[in-house]
Amino acid sequence: MAGAGKQVSIELGHFALILAFAIATLGTIGGYAYWRSGQRIAMVLSQAAILQFVLVAIAFLALIQAFVTSDFSLLLAVNNSHSLKPLIFKISGVWGNHEGSMVLWIFILVTFGAMVAAFGRRLPSDLLTLVLATQSLLTAAFTGFTIFTSNPFLRVFPAPLEGNDLNPVLQDIGLAIHPPLLYAGYVGFSICFSFAIAALISGRIDQSWARWVRPWTLLSWVFLTLGIAMGSYWAYYELGWGGWWFWDPVENASFMPWLAGTALLHSALVMEKRNALKIWTIFLSIITFSLSLLGTFLVRSGILTSVHTFASDPTRGLVILALLALVIGGAFFLFAMRASTLRQGGLFAPVSREGALIINNLFLATAVGAVLVGTLYPLLLDALVGTSISVGAPFFNLTFGALMAPLLLVLPFGPLLAWKRADVVGAAQRLIGAAALAIFCTILISALGGVSISLAPLGLLLGFWVAFGAFAELVERSRIGRMPLGESIRRLVGLPRTVWSTALAHFGMGVTVLGIVATTAWETELVTTLNPGETAELSGYTIDFDSFGQQPGPNYMADEARFTITAPGGSTRQTLADRRTYVATGMPTTEAAIETYGFSQLYLQLGEPLNDTHVVRIWHKPYITLIWFGAILMALAGVISLTDRRVRVGAPRRAAKLASEPA
């Protein structure tokens, strides 16, 4: 049987995907038809969700096996693999293309569905049925799309002896990490979406609903944060432009769900704690996942041309657009029909924690709008009028920056305000320390750096303000300085993890802002021609071009340039920048040499050979790693918040234990 299984693994994978489609289709119909029918349908759908996960996993593994064994009877492997490719890129090559990435998307979708089924036994059965039916609907839609328009299991006969290899830019560890993380983020929000749809259909929406949704929101948000940060770092080191964010439509496509997801995270908080903002939270759940779908559509339809666009097929674009219209349109129709029947909850004064979170939501939602307009306007104009315009970084920097600055300004106030009704003056008093510290640091750095009058010190001030302000709540609640230190530490340790995670996430935001400001304001760049033996200097670093030579890789030839970098402090490091030409495709890539000094980086890129010499681009990027470091802190904060008792539904044991502890 095992031998036979190996013989038919590709076809078995194909069949598994089709069976998953069939189960999802019937599950959708059954779920919506019988959601009032109690436990039995919920149990069947739970089982169906787990089966879908198993079946899609089989399909996914079949593809991986075909790639790993260089089975060129599979068209996908012919087009995207090569027998000489290192194993890790054979595996990641499975999703380095349109069809395979759709299978990854579906795999993550059904993984989340199976998680709901596994952890959702305590959910009210009608809610569980509706959530799983909606997940099944999404699975059916995307599996159907994949099977009928982008089937990864197409075969070739006779099979060629060699494949065409994967786009060299994608032959990087980044491909193994970035898409799965990003998709986990995108797709995770489908759970929030399904919960929102279930709430709208059943009319059941209360605090327990918010408690259920919040961990999924957090989990997806953590993945999306890491996915975007990883994508940004990958583009930074692989594309060789030295930039970390380009306001590229594809980047925006992942950034919009993040902004909306961040807003959702905060509004779900209000709903969980105060039973307020219900309709808005539902609306945001729908919006967030719709933006994820929009992102998928923009990237997968071939409307945009970028490293993410694998194949432009107008039919696919139309089908995704139809799916998008169906899912989003259906959701909003439902929302329009049912939202008015939902009961609004908890009242609060404008100045309160709730009010602050509404401000957060307003700014984030407006930012989503600005990015959405900037991203879609050129596309629509091109499609409708045929005029091609480009909305570039200046537009986004201005509008987005203008929206974020006030948000960051009021951010530290939020956690210090009490629920229901708060004292803004009191909060301001408690922030004086943070403000003073931020001003001091800014002046110190500006004075040391000899900064001229520009926006940079203001940016720094904002970054420090957010970073230090994040700890104000910790200081306040531990009463440091007003109590014996031991007591304060005991209080700190005893604080709920959500308080810590809030502080850490906001601190991470501040760190990212600092990184952005520093690298934008003080980046230096040098483009020069160098020959081996020659030396360049930039920002106190001395770069010696030691040697140049050719070196064969597993599936490429590399022109290698070796450099010695002498840091201002005198330490030296050897580094290597190369240009690779891939054997199968003849395509070149550049691999920059990146050396990290503290939080700063020196970035060397070897350009084209030019009449007996080499073009070398060198950047000094002060504190650039803070950008990603801050993102990692934010994600870490999300994980900490996930482990908090409050968001782990169904953990009464821990609660009982806490209760028995002496206060």
């Binding site: 194909h14 436990q39 149990m43």
Partner: protein
């Protein structure tokens, strides 16, 4: 067939699993809904108590929270009574119907889209890819056994003869071709193969029989290329250059311009014209009077190319000659001149791979 068995088994397992999931509730499905909700509310309540106990919640706040929870429970119960009326557990008929529809949908869709008859073909298991490493010896020995029992098996000899040639067993190959000719009559192809086997068997001595066979093959088919190629090559090897030049020209006359053997034939003609010195091959002496002569010839070619230019093939010849003579500096210089003369990599063709393979570098050209 085996595939369909697996597919049907997988479908059956899935359907049974789904049916089983509905099973334990078939007996009693009385509103566990409310229990669910109640346990949830109890959880919330114990959470509030825990917060109070841990000092995270003031007594007043806790009271308010409990009040809110109580209102929530009342609302929930009212709602539950309202919706319970619409209930009716999922029956067996729709469940079985749904499962049947799932199975039919999956199997029919797959029958339309799939290729159940196509096995997986991992590269390592492919006969074409494995041809080089496949156990040829054992295949041959089994054919040999069959031939020993039945020496008149034409098909057996026809299969085994090229295999012998491939494996370098030239005497056996010659014997096999002799058998084929004896059994099936002579054709120019068979005569050429036999001659090839004989020549390969005695690479230095030459073989008059082979020459006769080749001449006979060429004579019987005025368009037969293979025999003429071997003839010319053998004449060149024996040092009969005038005859060789004629023979090479004879072959080249049959060319349409795109044959795989054309470069080899042109090369052969050049060698014959140079009285047996191949400026491109390693078989040249590198010392003694011969080397001196070769050196002069190469420098003659270099001077001519430097003065009048020449084709890529001639430049390639020159670079190769220098490389054979071990003069890398001059090879690099010749290559540089060739790159200057033909700046497009496309035009230079194999010259680049020759040069880069020998460790030379490309300078000053567009990539």
């Amino acid at each position: 067939m085996i595939f369909w068995l697996i597919a049907i088994a997988v479908t059956a397992i899935a359907c049974v699993a789904l049916f089983y999931a509905a099973g334990p509730r078939l007996v009693n499905a009385a509103a566990p809904e409310l229990d669910d909700a109640n346990s949830h509310f109890r959880l919330v309540l114990s959470g509030i108590d825990a917060d109070v106990a841990a000092g995270k919640l003031g007594e007043g706040d806790a009271e308010a929270a409990r009040g809110e929870l109580a209102r929530e429970i009342l609302r929930h119960n009212a709602e539950a009574t309202r919706t319970r009326r619409a209930r009716g557990e999922l029956g067996r008929v729709p469940l079985l119907g749904g499962l049947a529809a799932t199975a039919v949908l999956a199997l029919v869709l797959y029958a339309m889209l799939g290729h159940p008859e196509m096995p997986s073909q991992p590269l390592a298991d492919r006969p074409e890819a494995a041809a080089q490493s496949v156990d040829l010896e054992s295949a041959i020995s089994s054919i040999e056994k069959a031939l020993a029992a039945n020496p008149d098996d034409l098909r057996g000899w026809t299969v085994i003869a090229p295999a012998y040639l491939e494996l370098g067993r030239y005497d056996d190959a010659a014997e096999a071709y002799r058998r084929i000719i004896a059994l099936d009559g002579a054709t120019p192809d068979l005569q050429t193969r036999l001659a090839q086997s004989l020549l390969f068997a005695t690479p230095d001595a030459g073989s008059p029989e082979a020459m006769d066979l080749l001449r006979a093959a060429a004579a019987s088919d005025p368009l037969h290329v293979r025999s003429r190629l071997y003839l010319a090559a053998e004449l060149t090897r024996r040092g009969d250059y005038p005859a060789a030049i004629a023979a090479w020209n004879d072959v080249l006359a049959l060319s349409k311009g795109d044959e795989a053997w054309l470069p080899a034939a042109q090369q052969g003609l050049v060698v014959a014209q140079n009285d047996g010195v191949d400026p491109g091959q390693g078989a040249v002496p590198t010392s003694g009077p011969d080397a001196e002569m070769i050196g002069q010839m190469v420098s003659g070619l270099a001077a001519r190319l430097a003065e009048n230019g020449g084709s890529v093939a001639e430049w390639t010849q020159l670079v190769r000659a220098y490389l054979v003579l071990g003069d890398t500096a001059k090879a690099q210089a010749a290559f540089d001149s060739a790159v200057t003369a033909y700046p497009q990599a496309f035009d230079r063709g194999d010259l680049d791979s020759l040069a880069l393979g020998a460790g030379l570098t490309i300078k000053g050209a567009t990539p």
